[in-house]
Amino acid sequence: MKGYAPILLAVALLATVPLISSSNVVLNFLVMALLIALAGQGWNLLGGYGGQYSFGHAAFFGTGAYVTAIIQMRYGVNAWLGFVVGIAAGALVGAVIGALSFRSGLKGSYFALVTLAFAEVLRIVASVTPITGAGVGTLIKLDLRPEAFQFQSRAPFYWIVLGMVGISLILARMIERSRFGAYLVAVRENEDAAKALGVDATKVKLVAMTISAALTAAAGGFYAQYYLFIDAGIAYGPWISIEALLAPIIGGIGTVFGPLLGALVVKTLGEVAKLVTGGAPGLDLVIYGGVLILVVAFAPQGIAGIFNGLHRRIFRRTQPAEPDRG
């Protein structure tokens, strides 16, 4: 899958969904899946391409969500502007956490755990400070006008999040093809070697983290506008940290389409599990977890890995083994 053509094709295809189906159930499902795909692409830039696994992407998601909401509700700023400020705030948080962590030389599991800790700190703070409404949460006033970034119909929301996912895909492709991307992958594969070659590893990781945070923050801001209610657990809770890493890993880590594929698959899996188990509480999630294990067991490179494998088999090319991504 090279070039921008597949991206444009995919986005164009997905864009037609509201025109084909008038079902809000489908649209709602897809909006949520695309939102996760967006957050996941953010994670993917840092974790997939950069090799730095974060367990605390909720920190950026929540910042995007809260800033968007608070700026509107407390300071009367326009919703769109608030959204942009939210993204900037998320990026800033990413830069700060990144600076602190990378300058201390944290890698691997230590990095993962420190991001987790930061997200938790933010969650706790958000649950007690008055500005976020503390425990009560923040409610965005229902105001179904485009100027307020709210819409009567689900379709505009859908196209907006699709557009953002499209941008994230293009961004990923651009990075793949750029020198920056090459540095990033070099750092992932062998940081010491990369440094020996003159790559400023800390700076590269920091830039990746900032962009990563911005994307996930955008997902957060969008969530706030879509559901109109957030609290500390929703904004900064582990659920989004997990979803943001699950999607790219399942879909194909370090690939452009990985997060999108992964998000769609994971969400669909959840729905299918519910379908199969009827109303019994918990059973659908048992199946969901079981399938997850099976996918990992039999398709460790993710969905994209399956495609690549098939591709190779169909064209009977012999290729060198994939570098160990562990």
Binding site: S21, S23, V25, N28, I234, V272, K274, L275, P281
Partner: protein
Amino acid sequence: MLVSVAAPEGEPMSRQSLSVNRRRFLQSTALGAAAAAGVLQAPSVLRAQGAAVKVGILHPVSGALSYSGQQGRIGATLAIEEINASGGIKALRGAKLEAVLGDAQSTPEGGNAEVEKMNGAGVAAIVGGYASGICLAASQTAARYDLPYIVDVGVVDSIVSRGLKNTFRFGPGFGVIAKTAIDNLVTINDQANKTAKTVMIVHEDSAFGAGLAKLLNTQLPERGFQVLETIPHPTPTRDFNNVVLKIKAQNPDLVIPANYYNEYVLLARTMQQQKVRPKGIYSVLGGAASSYKFVKEFPEAAQFIMDCNHWFDPKNAKALELKKKIEAKGEFYTYEVYMNYSCVLLLADALERAASADRDKIIAALESSTFTGHVMPYGPTKFVNGQNQGAAPVNTQVVGNDIQVIFPAAFASAKPVFPMPPA
């Protein structure tokens, strides 16, 4: 990746029979309901003779709130069974109610997704939500489709102050609960020669606890109480020893807890262990303070605890009958059960009066409702801006093995024991 999934029982799309199979099909998923939505028009279509009226029953039956969600579901489905058994909705030629069950998975997105599915399945109305966050999101989504939404429990005031025509709350909100709690506390205290002056509040730190604590903090001093300290804690909290230490050190006359079941149990047990015995424990919306489960499992720790909470009308025959039914099933008679039960009965009454399953007519019927067939001590319903005016909490106290109502006098079955006798 979006592959359409066949209906589980292999029901072909064209045969829209009204059997149980269709219910399972419809209550299942996005994909199934999506396909169905393409076929079904507005819900008022296909009103064949006695055609079933679908009612969305939404609760968090999995996730952190699963116990409450499951209790709520039990109450709601029991009500539907009873209504169907006694002839369904007579104004609609005996149409039966058909439950479309939804699991909100203890998150607002989960609730939201279920509302979409229920709408796609053509429900006439939705009952439930339980948690404030879920109710807020779900009722808002329902508002897009003018789908009537009856909130079962969710207490935050913002639920009914958004100007949403479709949202109705049968039970009381924070504002009323806090005011009633304080009014009744003052009365109980006066009756005991104003023996309590100092107070400590222990509350959980999310919407419910924090909101309540804020109100209490403003209103208690105005009524002559001194709040020594307000202690928030997260849900879950693993250990209350420090909290109890602080209570012990400051020795308030009254402890006011506002938290969920698990934390309340830990708090009460820790207080018992540390031999902390204030003059009274006056819980507001306590998770366990008026729970039969708590009384059964921890009789000593539960003694004389007062609560200001949702409670059924102890003088109502239907309420007591329901209690027997629930206990016969081996379940506890908790507020989620009878509040959901009442909400479904309320909806059925609205359907009767509207003589239609049309959403707008149901909303109109609810707006003008004066329903008395519920089991709560509220009097006839009267909705203003979606809030039932007569809704109010009631004061209870654990005495012996039972929970008695001590206030208001009209529903009381015992006198308050205050201050608590020494251990």
